[in-house]
Point group: C2
Chain length 188, copies 2
DNA sequence: TCCTTTATTGACTGATCATTCCATAATCCG
DNA sequence: CGGATTATGGAATGATCAGTCAATAAAGGA
């Protein structure tokens, strides 16, 4: 089904993600992309259309992977509060690599309906899962009962962004860990 | 001291800030800048050097103004906890306009020593002022005493960023208000 | 072996970009 | 008025950019 070492589309996309999350859309050139993806220029255009379509595909793939990772952490402990803790801990541990979601939102806000749709879908899925887990933690008495699960979820996701942004700004590991710890403690 | 209606350098800089905070550095062209600043192209280069120097000047001016506004809010109430509340409330109220500081950090991380120095200076000044206020609030019994003021300050600043990022992502006013409220409540 | 498929690269196009040179106009000061 | 100063905009430069076309190479299947 292939003649010359037919390249892996997903692998190439991952390489593109690596460039975009570091340099953003405007800061990335086609040459940087082909270099990182290790494919020819024409292959890029044949496979992904153009730079913008590639960017959207990268953001979508990144969002899916990131959502999956969050969900896995959330379910990685039997007690709901521990699941929430693992989610925050993972974010702290991986905060050194810039987040494409945040970069994308910073760069484009809500200017692009296409991009916003990708973000909104990922956000909705994640939000729902966290709300459920917060509810469970409340039922278990690990989260104060006067807290609206929706609000608490927004708060946690906000602090996820805060941790990543702090890391991008150069904060040290201790600072990031403190942010994660305080955010979780705020639910108690 | 001037012949043709000698333009106001600070006013022009403010206009440049308006463009940069919306479109970032890479997303902004010289034409967009001269258009918004309402000065000629050559005046821009004569006065500000080049696009990068103008960007740095804009970020520095923005950081100073933003720091001033934070400090004013912090001191805007006699009780320390209320000062902290006013700071958060102001952030919520103004969150609709994108933050140049966040945009700059997202776009460049710590790639530019020049830019990082600007951010670090503003951050240090702000951090110190908030730490002091948190300490006062603790002394007054309005903030739990087991909280490290440094950590609490980092937490508050992180949530400032979270609110602004949420706004950039399209969150509604109620959501932003909830974020501010929860961040402050976390200190209690 | 030959054909088909796939990837790559060079050359090119047209656009846009930042930036500079220069001529011109406008305005204030003496 | 006249000369100094300041802002402006046209023209041009060289670079870079995204994207296309066409030729070529590589490799699997028949």
């Amino acid at each position: 089904m292939a003649r010359p070492k037919e390249f892996d589309k997903d692998l190439a996309l991952d390489a593109a993600i690596g460039v975009f999350r570091e340099h953003g859309f405007e800061g990335t050139s086609a040459g940087m992309l082909t270099g990182a993806m290790k494919i020819g220029r024409q292959s890029l255009y044949d496979t992904f259309g153009d730079k913008w379509r590639l960017y959207c595909a990268a953001v979508a793939r990144y969002a899916e992977a990131e959502t999956r990772a969050h969900l896995a952490a959330l379910r990685g402990a039997s007690r709901a509060i521990d699941g929430l803790g693992e989610m925050m801990q993972r974010v702290v541990a991986e905060a050194r690599r810039p987040c494409l979601g945040i970069g994308s939102i910073c760069e484009f806000g809500r200017r692009s309906a296409e991009l916003s749709a990708i973000h909104d879908a990922a956000h909705a899925a994640l939000q729902a899962a966290i709300v459920r887990r917060v509810g469970e933690a409340q039922a278990a008495g690990d989260v104060r009962p006067d807290l609206d699960p929706q609000e608490a979820t927004g708060f946690l996701l906000g602090n996820v962004a805060a941790i990543r942004l702090a890391a991008r700004g150069g904060a040290d590991d201790a600072h990031l860990a403190a942010l994660g710890r305080l955010a979780l403690r705020a639910l108690r």
